[in-house]
Structures are given as structure tokens and as C-alpha cells.
């Protein structure tokens, strides 16, 4: 294996492979991101306007996804709903990820008392079931959108912390971290240069999974009427509003559900089929 040194030049430096399922997942995710960003300018009708004389109207040329329990256009409401579902979830997962991962790395590197106190506290926090935690918070301070974002973030910080800490503890035992430490490097350098680049891949995958959980939790809360409140409506709230259409299998109750499922399944498929970096061992 040692005789292959001269072959250096012909190896591609960046080689990634992704399979069809992964591409499909990525496309669906990209679609919803575009919708969430552009929703106000692409909706066919203002979301508050009653455009149908009937309620729970069927799918038609005029109203693609039918009308809701008041006769409003479902297409517009679902497109706008994407903003809330995606926006709140993304904001939460970013807050949870940044704080959880940073704390996890600090705990792993510092060790000792800092690690113990942080771990105990966050473990205790994670032993409150997530739905229950959000119920209690909603009972206490209501369910405005900032509160929802912070609540979801707080719920998923312990998980992000624990995951990042476990990875960082493994990296921390590696000799290259020891070498950096006895070179005299600062905590900040150790985190930024030695630990983070080596855990970022799995951490992002983990945050993807957490994003799915947040979407599900948020939808569940909204479904219970304890999440996003009118006049705003995310996909979970749309299902709740229109649950009366369930006996007629109205599109108004089916399509918001499908929207949630399409997003979460797509993220899951993308995570399970991430592009893999080609790392060929040298042939000789």
C-alpha cells in the first residue's frame, strides 16, 4: 500500500455520490423551503378571504385543494402554513443545535464539575416528556410564536447536547487533541479547530432528525389547539380547524396532513441517503 504515492494527482479531491431516493428527498425539502420563503407572492387568494360559497369544498380547477370549513382557499392556506411550520421548526432547531452543541463540546473538553452539573441538569430536563413540557409551558405563558420557538428549542437542547457531547468526548480522547492541548491552545481553538470539524457531519444529521421531531411536536400541539393560534395557522392547526371534514374525507383535512408527511418523510429519506463522500483506499 505504500507504493502508491505517485498516483496523487489523478484522484478527485471532491467526490460525492447520492442515490435517487436521496435526490427525491432533497427535492421535496427544497420545494417546501422555496414555498415557505415565497408564499406571500405565490398564493392565489388572500388566506383570510372566503372564496367559496360552500364549506369543505372539493378539489376543483378554481380551488386546487378545495375550501376549508369557512370556504377559504386551502391551497393558499397550506402554502402560507409552510411558513409557520418550517419557520418555527427551523428557528427552534437552530437555537437548540447551536446552544446544545456548544454546551456539549464545552462539557466534553472541560470535564469535571462543569460537565457533571451540565449533564445532570440537562438529563433532568430531558426526563420530562416533550409534549408534557410544552403543555405546561403553554399553560403558563400562552402560545405566542416566540414562546413556541423557545419551548421547542429548550425541549431539544438536552438531546443535541447529549449527542454532541458523546461525539466530542470520543474526539477529545484522540491524541491530536492532546497534542493541541499541550501545545498550549485555548478552549476556543480546541472547540473550533479540533473538535467541531470532526463532529459536524453527524451533528447535522442529528439536527435533521430533531427537526423532524420538532415538526411533529409542533403539529401535534397545534392539533390540540395549544400551538399556533388563529389568525395564524400552521399545518397542524389546519388539520384541527378542518377536523369536522373528516367524516366526508374533505381535502381540507387530508392535504395539510399530507403536507406534514411529505416534509418529514422527505427529511428522513434525505438523512438515510445522504451523499457519501468517496474515500477510496489507495490501490497499489
Amino acid at each position: 500500500m505504500t507504493s502508491a504515492a505517485p498516483s496523487a494527482a489523478r484522484r478527485p479531491r471532491f467526490g460525492y455520490r447520492i442515490n435517487a431516493v436521496g435526490v427525491a428527498g432533497a427535492l421535496v425539502v427544497a420545494f417546501w423551503i422555496v414555498v415557505a420563503v415565497a408564499a406571500p407572492s405565490i398564493i392565489p387568494h388572500p388566506i383570510g378571504d372566503i372564496v367559496d360559497t360552500d364549506y369543505f369544498g372539493p378539489m376543483s380547477r378554481e380551488l386546487w385543494l378545495g375550501s376549508d370549513y369557512l370556504g377559504r382557499d386551502m391551497t393558499s392556506r397550506i402554502l402560507m402554513g409552510a411558513r409557520y411550520t418550517l419557520g418555527i421548526s427551523v428557528a427552534s432547531v437552530i437555537i437548540a443545535g447551536v446552544s446544545g452543541v456548544t454546551l456539549g463540546m464545552i462539557a466534553a473538553i472541560t470535564g469535571g464539575v462543569v460537565d457533571m452539573v451540565l449533564s445532570r441538569l440537562l438529563d433532568a430536563l430531558s426526563s420530562i416528556p416533550s409534549k408534557l413540557f410544552s403543555l405546561v409551558v403553554v399553560a403558563a405563558v400562552g402560545s405566542s410564536i416566540p414562546v413556541l420557538i423557545v419551548t421547542m428549542a429548550v425541549i431539544y437542547i438536552p438531546g443535541a447536547y447529549r449527542f454532541a457531547r458523546a461525539l466530542a468526548v470520543n474526539i477529545n480522547t484522540m491524541d491530536f487533541v492532546t497534542v493541541a492541548r499541550i501545545r498550549g491552545e485555548s478552549l476556543f481553538y480546541l472547540i473550533r479547530a479540533e473538535i467541531l470539524p470532526n463532529i459536524i457531519g453527524p451533528v447535522l444529521v442529528d439536527l435533521g432528525l430533531r427537526f423532524v421531531f420538532i415538526v411533529l411536536l409542533l403539529s401535534g400541539m397545534s392539533f390540540l389547539g395549544l400551538g399556533v393560534r388563529p389568525p395564524y395557522a400552521d399545518w397542524g392547526a389546519l388539520v384541527r380547524e378542518n377536523i369536522g371534514g373528516l367524516p366526508y374525507a374533505a381535502p381540507a383535512v387530508i392535504f395539510p396532513s399530507l403536507a406534514i408527511a411529505s416534509l418529514t418523510i422527505a427529511v428522513n429519506l434525505l438523512i438515510d441517503n445522504l451523499p457519501t463522500k468517496i474515500r477510496d483506499r489507495e490501490t497499489s
Binding site: 445532570r120 438529563d123 433532568a124 420530562i128 416528556p129 403558563a140 392539533f223 390540540l224 373528516l246 418523510i265
Partner: protein
């Protein structure tokens, strides 16, 4: 070695105790953050300032939070959960019957789901990469990706609306025959089973596959062991810890699941009680329900960890 196991278990129990205290503290303060004055809420806007002041004194609302917490905790330990704001009944009495209902639902689900999910998960690991395994994996991804209420509404749509086999809501009070019982419980139990099985299948499959990739399983293969023997004799005993963990985690997931399921099926359990209490801001009731859920969760995870310690062959 016996000594080491005992000390590990004691350490685990100590952690559980510390966690329990932190959690009760957190629950108490989360609910104590409730905006608005409790006494005013109780007496209504029309109450005289004197009456409000009197009630505040009586309820010790002016004491520092830490005293109120300790007083409340002492009450919880003695079984005194306080009095509901909404209808002035002792919380313990309100919860009692509801808790039994929820435990019935959860227990029934566990009895169905655990054996089913473990069988599916382990067989999928044995038949890795076969059509059976692939279909199961796809179904599992689908189920873990959708919210519980969607599975519940789909079940209602299918069994109650289209097929008209089952009633859309559960009424436990009318149960007289086995047939009634089955009709009332079928839908919630089936839904919950689907929800928690998916996680359990995924995790037990992963646990078995991981142990199948170890050198000692390769060694057994080179001794001429059959596939069944590899899994049942060599991989399973070593995957026991992770599998127990998966079961505990899924059962704790059940606690979250019942919140949605009880609401959708209008099932008179403790979770439904709590959701209702949240809408009426019934503080003592919320606190008590939350504590019950948290302790149930803690009990499950602690038991799982202790079983994992006991099943670790290296500690024998």
C-alpha cells in the same frame, strides 16, 4: 463483582432521585410562572381587594417561591395534591379514576406492542436486506415521520367512516361485554401500538444488527453455526441491554402518545384531563398530572438502565 453491580445500581437510583427533585422543581416553577394573580383568577374580577388579600394569605401566595415549593412537595409526598381551581374538588380524587383508565390503555398497548415489535425487529435483523426487511423498514420510516394525530385520524377514517366497524370515540362507562370492551379499546390501542412499535422495531433491529457485526459472531459463523443460532444464541444476549433500552424509550413515548390519542378518541384518561386543565389553567391539576407523567417516565428509564446493568455479562 456482586458488590460492583450493587454500587452501580445504587448510583443509578441516586441519580434518579436527584433527577426527580430537579424535575418537580422545574414543573412547579413552570406552572408558577403563570401570569396573572392566582387569587384574582380564583375569585373573579369582581372580588374585593380584601377578599383577594385574604385568599393570598390563606394560600401562602406571598411566601418566597422556595417555601411554596417545599410545602407543595411535602403535600405531594403525603398524597395531598391540592384542590382543583376549576371545580374545588381534591385533585387526588379527580385523578384517581382517570389514572386507572390511562394505565389500562397504556398497559393494553404495551402487552400488544412489545412482543409484536420485538418479533418484527429481530426477524428483520435476521433477514436483513430481504424483501421483508425492506418493506418493514419503509413502513417504519413512514410511521415515525407522521404525527400521531394523523395515524389516529386515518384510523378513524378507515375503520369508523369507510368500514363502519368501530365507533369513532371511546366510552369506557358503557362496557358490559367483551365485545363492548374490544370495540371501545380497539381503535386507541391499535393507533398507539402502531405509533410506538415503529420506534421499537427500528431500534431493536439496529441493536441486533450491530451485535451481528462483531468478531464473536463471525467466529461463531466460522464454527459452522446456522443463521438462527447466530442471532438467537450469540447476538441476542448481547443486544439485550440496547433492546431493553429501546422498549423503555418507546414506552415512555407512549406517555406522549396518549396525550394526542386520548384527545382524538375522547378517552377519559389522565392526559385528556390535563389537556382540559391547560385550557382552564387549573394549576394544581396541571402540576399533579405533570408530576405523574414525569415520574412514570423516570421509572421507565431507571428500570431500563438497571436491567441493562444486570444483563451486562462483563459485570457477572
Amino acid at each position: 463483582m456482586k458488590h460492583r453491580i450493587a454500587s452501580l445500581i445504587l448510583a443509578r437510583l441516586a441519580i434518579a432521585l436527584v433527577t426527580a427533585i430537579i424535575v418537580s422543581f422545574a414543573v412547579f416553577f413552570a406552572t408558577a410562572m403563570l401570569p396573572g394573580d392566582t387569587a384574582t383568577i380564583l375569585l373573579g374580577q369582581a372580588a374585593t381587594p380584601e377578599a383577594v388579600e385574604g385568599l393570598r394569605k390563606a394560600m401562602h401566595l406571598d411566601d418566597p417561591a422556595i417555601f411554596r415549593f417545599l410545602r407543595w412537595l411535602a403535600g405531594v409526598v403525603q398524597g395531598d395534591l391540592g384542590v382543583s381551581y376549576a371545580n374545588n374538588m381534591p385533585v387526588a380524587k379527580l385523578i384517581g379514576g382517570r389514572l386507572v383508565n390511562t394505565l389500562k390503555l397504556a398497559g393494553l398497548t404495551a402487552i400488544v406492542a412489545v412482543p409484536l415489535a420485538l418479533t418484527l425487529g429481530i426477524t428483520a435483523a435476521m433477514l436483513r436486506n430481504t424483501l421483508y426487511d425492506r418493506c418493514l423498514t419503509i413502513a417504519v420510516i413512514g410511521i415515525v415521520s407522521v404525527p400521531e394525530f394523523m395515524i389516529a385520524t386515518l384510523a378513524v377514517l378507515l375503520f369508523a367512516v369507510y368500514l363502519n366497524w368501530l365507533p369513532a370515540v371511546s366510552f369506557t362507562s358503557e362496557i358490559r361485554t367483551v365485545h363492548d370492551f374490544a370495540r371501545a379499546y380497539a381503535m386507541p390501542v391499535v393507533t398507539l401500538t402502531i405509533v410506538i412499535s415503529a420506534q421499537m422495531i427500528r431500534m431493536s433491529r439496529a441493536a441486533v444488527i450491530e451485535t451481528l457485526n462483531t468478531p464473536y459472531v463471525e467466529m461463531a459463523l466460522l464454527k459452522g453455526a446456522s443463521r438462527g443460532r447466530l442471532v438467537l444464541r450469540h447476538a441476542l444476549p448481547n443486544a439485550l441491554g440496547p433492546i431493553v433500552n429501546a422498549v423503555a424509550l418507546s414506552l415512555s413515548y407512549l406517555l406522549g402518545g396518549v396525550i394526542i390519542i386520548e384527545t382524538v378518541f375522547n378517552y377519559p384518561g389522565i392526559a385528556k384531563l390535563m389537556v382540559d386543565a391547560v385550557s382552564t389553567r387549573d394549576l394544581p391539576l396541571i402540576q399533579s398530572c405533570a408530576i405523574i407523567f414525569c415520574f412514570g417516565f423516570l421509572l421507565l428509564t431507571t428500570t431500563a438502565d438497571i436491567i441493562a446493568i444486570l444483563s451486562n455479562p462483563r459485570l457477572r
